[in-house]
């Protein structure tokens, strides 16, 4: 016996070219929609991961024009403004603070790096406090420095890979020509740490000829009032307070315009595809008016015809949506690369995160919108009167 589903399916096969083109439209719009929804989630997840990986929630940095600092860093030289290390003491005793760690970020010009030279960046950290903030850091080889003044370095995985270093090898700090021994290489973290070279704070201060720091990382106690702490820290002279929640919000705001625009495009793509669906089904109904009339003489109720035509819409939208979602999964990496090339800042990690839940959401959305669009052609088909459609000689 033949079912209504089979009848609907066979009807779609009667005009293969038309059905294929409509399917392609739905597939493309589904692909775009699910990729963009995946990007929305992936970006935020990746950003959260990057930020969580910092180990601390607040940073205190020297006040000064930020653009200048950034430009000077990019073009070479230690153009950063500094803060006094004694500031650490005024922060660590605050009731909201769990731990603090002083950090010195320094950059040296390396004439042999890249085309015309480049920056080599170093992170001076305090052995007593920094590793404790990041207990999740694992070592591929070796471990942390032996003391706070050692002429030693710990390298991120990719920094070590780039320079072909293993534990026991030496590296040279350019400009200053100071040799450091590699004592540890970290496992890949998928964050900025992979490209970082860590050096004991005092060692880096000595190399740079300064006794100041650039940043203080602050870990807040679990139930503490971070806003209160931020406000108090703002009172400290010549410093900026940055919370990573703020950084995240700012970055999200930076790309939010792009997100909204791109999401709008996805929605428009879906609507255009649906117009295609309505057109296809409606044309099909108008071409089959006589046939629908005959079906009614066979005993098909208006509701049967409505469901039959609606099933055609359902098949088109489901197949198109599934194909689009499958393509999105397959090409997720390419979508990722595309996004990275366009965005001003892209966190490390999977930018386009498509999972089953998202796929189902897209499927439901496309099918839902499709079924809503398909109501009119289906209703029109249901209203066909057999006599109006069957040719008669009266």
């Amino acid at each position: 016996m033949i079912s209504k589903f089979q009848i609907a399916y066979q009807n779609l096969l009667r005009k293969k070219a038309r059905t294929s083109l409509t399917l392609i439209g739905i597939t493309l719009s589904s692909w775009v929609l699910v990729s963009l929804l995946g990007f929305n989630r992936g970006y935020e997840n990746a950003l959260d991961h990057d930020i969580d990986n910092m180990g601390y929630q607040l940073m205190v940095m020297a006040k000064g024009c930020p653009y200048e600092a950034a430009t000077m860093m990019l073009q070479g030289g230690a153009g950063l403004r500094y803060i006094e290390q004694s500031m650490v003491d005024s922060i660590v005793n605050r009731p909201e603070v769990d731990e603090v760690t002083p950090i010195l970020m320094q950059a040296f010009f390396d004439p042999d790096k890249g085309d015309g030279g480049g920056i080599a960046g170093y992170y001076g950290i305090e052995l007593a406090s920094y590793p404790g903030m990041k207990p999740f850091l694992r070592f591929h080889q070796g471990g942390w420095f032996r003391d706070e003044k050692a002429a030693e370095a710990v390298m991120g995985y990719e920094a070590a890979e780039l320079e072909q270093r293993v534990v026991g090898d030496m590296i040279l700090v350019p400009e200053k020509n100071v040799q450091l021994k590699v004592v540890g290489i970290l496992e890949r973290t998928g964050t900025q740490d992979d490209g970082t070279i860590f050096v004991p704070l005092k060692t880096l201060q000595q190399i740079s000829g300064i006794d100041q720091i650039t940043t203080i990382g602050i870990k807040i106690k679990t139930d503490a009032d971070s806003t209160k702490l931020e406000t108090a820290l703002y009172q400290l002279p010549d410093v900026q307070v940055v919370s990573f929640t703020q950084v995240k919000q700012t970055i999200m705001k930076l790309i939010s315009t792009a997100r909204i625009m791109v999401l709008s495009i996805a929605i428009i793509a879906v609507l255009i595809a649906m117009v295609g669906v309505v057109n296809t089904i409606l044309m099909s109904v108008l071409e089959r008016t006589q046939e629908i009339g005959i079906l009614k003489t066979m005993g098909a109720m208006p509701g049967d015809i409505f469901r039959l035509v609606w099933t055609e819409t359902l098949i088109l939208c489901s197949c198109g949506a599934i194909a689009g979602i499958a393509l999105a999964f397959v090409f997720a990496r390419i979508s990722d690369l595309l996004m990275r090339s366009v965005l001003p800042y892209a966190p490390v990690g999977e930018l386009v995160a498509i999972d089953l839940k998202l796929a189902l959401l897209t499927l439901v959305t496309i099918v839902g919108v499709g079924l809503a669009s398909g109501i009119y052609p289906a209703w029109k088909a249901g209203r066909v009167r057999p006599l109006d459609s069957i040719r008669s000689e009266g």
Binding site: P66, Y67, A69, A70, M73, L74, M105, A107, D110, D112, K113, G114, D115, I119, G121, Y123, G156, E158, A159, E161, L162, E163, Q164, R165, V166, D169, M170, I171, L172, P174, N177, Q179, Q192, D194, G195, T196, Q240, V242, Q246, V247, T250, I251, L254, P344, Y345, A346, V348
Partner: protein
């Protein structure tokens, strides 16, 4: 509004800072590429007028057995990081539509950092030019000078096969290459090893496979 704007700018810059200063390429394995291909190829192959770029790796051409064969030819010293996946970039040099040679680079461990050693080769595998793109250390200039590089012009794989780059002993033309910086013996030997690795790879992937000659 103004303080908020400053804060926003600051945080934006911070983000750029993270990205530009501390970020490194995220490729799974680091490849050896020319920093400025158009200019570099023209300089290394003066009578060329174009080039194409392709890449190859062990995992694409023979896998672990081939890697072991190459390492045996180099004296049994295993490579450092993810050798199977490392993509080797090959620049095929053209004159008109005709292929006239290759430019190819390898990474090698040096004393304070990586050595990036490039060779330009003719279709028979003879060295036409030597280019040290990267070296760390005060003695860097001594190895990047034209005087040092000229010593390699005209050599080929046969010359390097007479020299053990692990033991630093051997005969023939390679043995008579002068070290311009006796204080940098590690880097000097590293450069020789890189050259041999370069030639062996080219031999295994192209010349012996019959792809080198026109």
């Amino acid at each position: 509004m103004r303080p908020m704007l400053r804060q926003w700018k600051f945080v934006f810059s911070l983000s750029l800072l993270f990205l530009s200063v501390f970020a490194t390429p995220l490729s799974a394995a680091i490849s050896c590429e020319l920093n400025y291909p158009a200019g570099d190829v023209a300089r290394l192959f003066p009578d060329s007028n174009g080039f194409t770029t392709s890449d190859f790796s062990f995992s694409g051409r023979g896998g672990a057995p081939l890697l072991r064969k190459v390492e045996a030819r180099l004296g049994g010293v295993p490579a450092l990081y993810a050798p199977l996946d490392v993509p080797y970039v090959l620049y095929e040099v053209l004159k008109g539509k005709k292929r006239v040679g290759y430019v190819h680079g390898v990474n090698q461990k040096g004393q304070f950092g990586v050595l990036e050693v490039f060779l330009s080769l003719d279709l028979n595998g003879t060295i036409k030019a030597f280019y040290l793109q990267r070296i760390s250390g005060a003695w860097g200039r001594k190895f990047t000078s034209p005087r040092f590089g000229k010593q390699f012009v005209g050599l080929d794989l046969r010359d390097f096969e007479q020299y053990d780059t692990v033991a630093a002993k051997g005969t023939g033309k390679v043995a008579s290459i002068a070290n311009p910086a006796p204080e940098a013996k590690t880097d000097f030997l590293g450069i020789l090893r890189a050259l041999k690795k370069n030639l062996v790879l080219m031999d295994e992937f192209f010349y012996s496979a019959g792809k080198g000659a026109q």
